[in-house]
Amino acid sequence: MFFRVVDKERLPDLIAGLSSDHEVIGPIEKDGRFVFAPISDPSQIRLDYDTTLLPPKKWLMPPEETMMHFNCADEEVTDDTVVASPRVLFGLHPCDINSLLLLDNVFLQGHVDPYYKARRDNTLIVGMSCTPSPTCFCNVWDTDEVHWGFDIFLTDLGDRYYASLRTVKGAEVLDRHVDSRAVTEKDTADFQQVVHEFKQGFSNNVDTAQLPVLLDAKFDSPVWDDFGSECLSCGACSMVCPTCYCFDVKDRLEVDQKSGARVRTWDSCQFKEFAAVAHGQNFREDRSSRLKYRYYHKYWGYLSKFERVLCVGCGRCTLACPSGISPVKVIEALQAGGSR
């Protein structure tokens, strides 16, 4: 990887420069929390944000998207193109960049998902270092670091940024839009110091040893009923999760009833009808089995295919759950063996 150093005062130049030919999405403040939103003025951006309400997946797989337009009379697809305009996701933390790598495994392997791919290919990623917050547990999955999946990564050294350039595109835009200089030994030493302090900042050190084994061995554990009885099946955990990708597909007819659109929307395995099939059968009728399935898939199902868990420890679900259920608590309960 190549590195450059950018003075902090110069950063708005980069954002402004990128804005000339991209839609720039970055963290801004909204009602005391943060969201990823289009940036019209570089001063709006809040690079000191802790986490956003919704994860960046929103910009690669929108909550609702049209897959194709159709004509009912001859069952013909009239249009299945997706126009993915050039876009920058600015200021993504390592956990969120890692989440995109996990989504890539699903959408870009096997049958490629053309909608996701079009957006992914036309999105530039500028990462930003962060400070651990009380709900973060990225450290346990090693997703507090990221080494690919971005174009530029900026590590905050106080008065300047240590910029890692991963791609040609990233190097090009940095060169074009902002004054930067070569890295000195002092810069690298400061970088190491910042990283060292960052690593000390985590408060959750949950034991994830042999988690897949525990999930199978404790499939019938009362732990699941304990958490299940508190779960409201609201699906908030899935909506705010940067790695939950499940969707539903529906057809919508125009008023003429002759044409329409096939649309997909975010879905959640926590919703009761998610696994319902014909003849009133439902493979996960009760809440505890649905809650269990979500953990089972994240920490074992996905792992069995892609050798990583489907979680980056961002802590959004912990903040969103109205019943205070968190992966940290669930894993601790499983490790302890008993109920909470």
Binding site: E75, D113, N122, C246, W300
Partner: protein
Amino acid sequence: MNDIRVDECACDGVGNAYRPWPARITSIQDLTEKEKLFELRLIDPEVREAFKFHAGQFAEISIFGVGEAPISISSAPSKQGFIELCVRNTGDVTGALHKKQCGDIVGLRGPLGRGFPFEQMKGNDILLVAGGLGIAPLKSLINHIHDERHEFGKVTIMYGAKNPGEVLFRHQFDMWKHREDFDLMLTVDESDDTWDGPVGVVTKLFDQVDVDPDCTYGAICGPPVMYKYVIEEMRKKNMDVDKIYMSFERRMKCGIGKCGHCGVGHQYACIDGPVFSYWEAMNLQEAI
């Protein structure tokens, strides 16, 4: 950077995997009150040519404005150019399909999923057990075995239906009763005066067969409750856990491993299945 359009990033030669292709209904046969057999022909010759499937795979049937439903392909892979689907009217898409006429067009996507290990089964005896609509995917396997009959040893088919009116493909099976190369056993839960065969659940038929566990492959498809009991019988005959195959029905939306609906244990029924060996199924939580 320029805008990227989906059609430019169409991958592995199949284009958009979510896109259904128009297929014409070339024949419709009423099988029972609830089931019809549809024969479809993909209209685009290139797409038709590319549609090569294995017994046990399925297709997504699409009716625009209504939606999509996964349906097993019940014709044999050796039957070229046409695809048969045996469809029960249970809801939106299947209901709309049942209203279609011969000559009408529907959408089709596939073939999808992992079918039966046909090549691996060759050289062995075969014991097929179907319950109700479970005969649909097994019919593809049966017909494929029929087309390459010399490759197999003894072939036994056990098929149970609720009542004689619900026996699917009864006409074909009535003709097959007298064949020497297939041991066909039909049973119904409740009999009526059109029935002179055995009465009782399909597992009762196991008393009447000899199985050589060293060289017998099993294939099972039926309602979820059936699997446990059939497997019990097969295990009593000492059949190996990795020679018993079964097809699972789960809720499906995408059919290509993206939407997450078909999760069974740590696998997805749409891409890892729908056919699993019993050994695999034993390792899938909530599968049986």
